[in-house]
Amino acid sequence: MSDVVVNEIETYLPALRRYAWALMRNRYDADDLVHDCVARALDKLHTRREDADMRAWLFTIMHNLFISQHRRRKARPETELLDDTHDHAARSEPSQEDRLHWRDMLRALERLPEEQRTVVLLVSVEDLSYAETASVLGVPIGTVMSRLARGRERLRQFTDSDVRPQLRRVK
């Protein structure tokens, strides 16, 4: 365990927490998942190929942990979707409008089937390439592309009808 590698892992913590949050949908389970992922990664460092991309490797570990440990758990009820334990006071406040929009965004994300949600997140939030996403999820690139297309289209429909019903009426 060289310090260089540990430092590198540290730089990906925000990304890991973001992805874990989107998978678990509450802060405590998400941070447990991040903890397990980092511990597993450090424990298995010797099995990692030298040239393997660290970020994609970490996401792969997290995804596998999520599948093996957490998938069977029932999804949390929708009321827990937004993490109200969060302390907003210390930071500059986003506008109320932004916040409502984000809330709707997360609700829509919640309604996606898990296989589409993971692809949308890895590609459009975590900026993984399609090939990296395929390798993290252990599926062919073609599957990634079709899940991405279906996931995005659904998100667009959910948010169009949920967020801007008035626009729909105008159409």
Binding site: M1, P14, D31, H35, V38, L42, A90, R91, W102
Partner: protein, 255 residues
């Protein structure tokens, strides 16, 4: 040139196209307002998703997720297990093993080194015990102090180390070649366990605090009015030294 596919539109949104292909997509979008509207809303979704998730995990990262902390825990767990395995192996091999053990852990039998060896041996055995690391728990602190003090014929008590970030877990009476000893166990917020090991050293004097490496775990020891104290934990020695000095300050008899 291949016709523009659905995949191309997504790769455009995710900026994963070659410059050349990108130009073709831009031209296609100019000519197909429906696709153009769809791509625009995908790009907007992408931005909104990022903002919404960033908001959720904003704020300081809990220290338990710090990879340096986790790496340290893994290292100390490995050290303890390999040490415990070595002890088991040595005892398990009977006579020959006993000889080997004596040869390997008693290179110079100064009383301080001896105390630290006993402290480390007990530390390894009891801190690794997840179910019952202590004989008397934190709610029986006074009972333990009385028990250990009676057996050693000296007044000792587990100090409160909460100021140093260690919570008291309890303790036990321990056996050594030099008679009964007391062991007090603590744990910090990273679940790293620390033990204070204490017994009379047979001379009624004082010895200043010193760092003793046992080859497995390091510790600090000193003698105060004929009672030998040691502090052992799998933490960096500068950190351990601060705790040891705090223990020394707390157990020092008031003048």
């Amino acid at each position: 040139m291949d016709p523009i596919s659905e995949d191309d539109l997504h790769a455009f949104v995710d900026d994963q196209l070659t410059a050349e292909r990108r130009e073709h997509v831009v031209r296609h979008l100019r000519e197909h307002p429906d696709d153009s509207a769809r791509v625009s809303s995908y790009i907007a979704l992408r931005g909104a998703l990022r903002a919404a998730l960033a908001e959720q995990v904003d704020g300081p990262i809990p220290s338990r997720l710090n990879p340096h902390v986790i790496a340290h825990q893994i290292r100390s767990r490995r050290t303890i297990w390999s040490a415990a395995a070595a002890v088991v192996l040595a005892f398990g091999l009977g006579g020959g093993g006993g000889w080997y053990l004596r040869a390997s852990i008693t290179p110079k039998p100064s009383s301080m080194a001896m105390l630290l060896q006993e402290a480390v041996a007990n530390h390894i055995v009891y801190t690794a015990d997840r179910r019952r690391p202590t004989e008397l728990g934190p709610d029986q602190r006074d009972d333990l102090a009385r028990w250990v003090s009676n057996r050693m014929n000296r007044q000792v008590a587990p100090p409160d180390l909460s100021s140093a970030g260690y919570k008291y877990l309890g303790g036990r009476l321990a056996a050594t070649n030099s008679g009964p000893a007391g062991m007090f166990m603590y744990q910090n917020e990273h679940n790293i366990r620390l033990t204070i090991f204490v017994r009379p050293v047979g001379i009624d004097g004082n010895a200043p605090i010193e760092h003793v490496g046992s080859g497995v775990l390091d510790g600090f020891g000193w003698v105060s009015k004929g009672i030998g104290y040691s502090v052992v934990a799998a933490v960096p020695s500068d950190e351990l030294q601060k705790v040891a000095e705090e223990v020394q300050r707390l157990v020092e008899p008031r003048a």
